[in-house]
């Protein structure tokens, strides 16, 4: 299933059973996009959108094997934290890292972000691979503003039928 919107230019898609893909283009060369996504002073300015809360922790040890940790306090006062380790870094082009959501320390997902630059425009593609379909679907639900966190399964076939 794809949801795209001309106004915000982002495309979010479920890939297979366990992945979510986010695609967006930036009107800038890749080195700027890479900088904005890998340096803490810049990540602090976009990771927690103002409408959702405030970023409270932003630690990045940007090297293969290095750790990262992001946390925010949501507008409803909840602390939400994520952490992981860098698996691959290809400067200006590609980053892969693990990601763990604090309440579920055993659930490890892998996020691979690639940047492709052409004529000063950069296509940003981030694929998050979750260990199971149930986890992926739950993550989407927790992305909701209303803090839905009930577990549920096997929805993408259903969602696909709507498009």
């Amino acid at each position: 299933m794809t949801t795209a919107n001309a106004a915000d230019g982002i495309c979010v898609q479920l890939l297979g059973d366990c992945e979510i893909e986010i695609v967006r283009t930036f009107a800038a060369p890749a080195r700027f996009v890479f900088e904005a996504m890998s340096k803490p002073e810049y990540v602090r300015r976009w990771w927690a959108p103002r409408s959702r809360g405030e970023m409270t922790v932003c630690e990045i040890d940007f090297r293969v094997g290095g750790a990262w940790r992001f946390a925010m306090r949501t507008v409803s006062g909840m602390e939400v934290g994520f952490s992981g380790q860098y698996l691959e870094i290809e400067h200006g082009r590609r980053v892969a890292h693990t990601e763990i959501f604090d309440p579920f320390p055993d659930v490890i997902s892998v996020v691979t972000t690639t940047l492709v630059e052409e004529d000063d425009v950069t296509r940003f593609t981030s694929i998050v691979r979750y260990p199971s379909k149930a986890v992926r679907d739950q993550v989407i639900a927790t992305g909701m503003e209303h803090g839905m966190r009930e577990s549920h399964k096997q929805l993408d076939e259903v969602v696909k039928s709507l498009v």
Binding site: N5, D8, V12, F26, A28, F32, G143, M144, K153, V158
Partner: protein
């Protein structure tokens, strides 16, 4: 919304929903296609009906079950909200990138001012 997820979390109920994507079906047909006994199918259909996922209508002697559009629109909104989060983040990244570009342009510009002041 929670009712929707709970209803779909049961594998046989999800299979029923998937089967109904082909079109309206009577209970007997659903049971036969899925290899599930009819009383079980009826129970699942009741749950799906209570969650607003299926509707039922009479067709001559039979009762036909079909997907109800309302609950599925909610599911669509569900993925949409995740998208909104990322749209907001990436818009924030846009602002950072614009600033980084300006900074770089500024650094590259030769500094005439100092010489002129002398």
């Amino acid at each position: 919304m929670l009712a929707t997820f709970t209803a779909l979390a049961e594998p046989n109920r999800l299979r029923i929903v998937e089967l109904l994507r082909e079109g309206p079906q009577p209970v007997g047909e659903i049971g036969a296609r899925l290899g599930v006994r009819q009383p079980q199918v009826s129970k699942h259909l009741q749950t799906l009906y209570a969650a607003g996922l299926v509707d039922v209508r009479a067709d001559a002697q039979r009762r036909l079950y079909e997907l109800a559009p309302g609950a599925f629109r909610e599911l669509d909104a569900w993925l949409g909200d995740y998208r909104t989060l990322w749209a907001e983040r990436l818009r924030g990244m846009d602002a950072v990138i614009t600033e980084l570009r300006k900074q770089e342009a500024k650094e590259k510009r030769p500094r005439h001012d100092h010489r002129k002041r002398r």
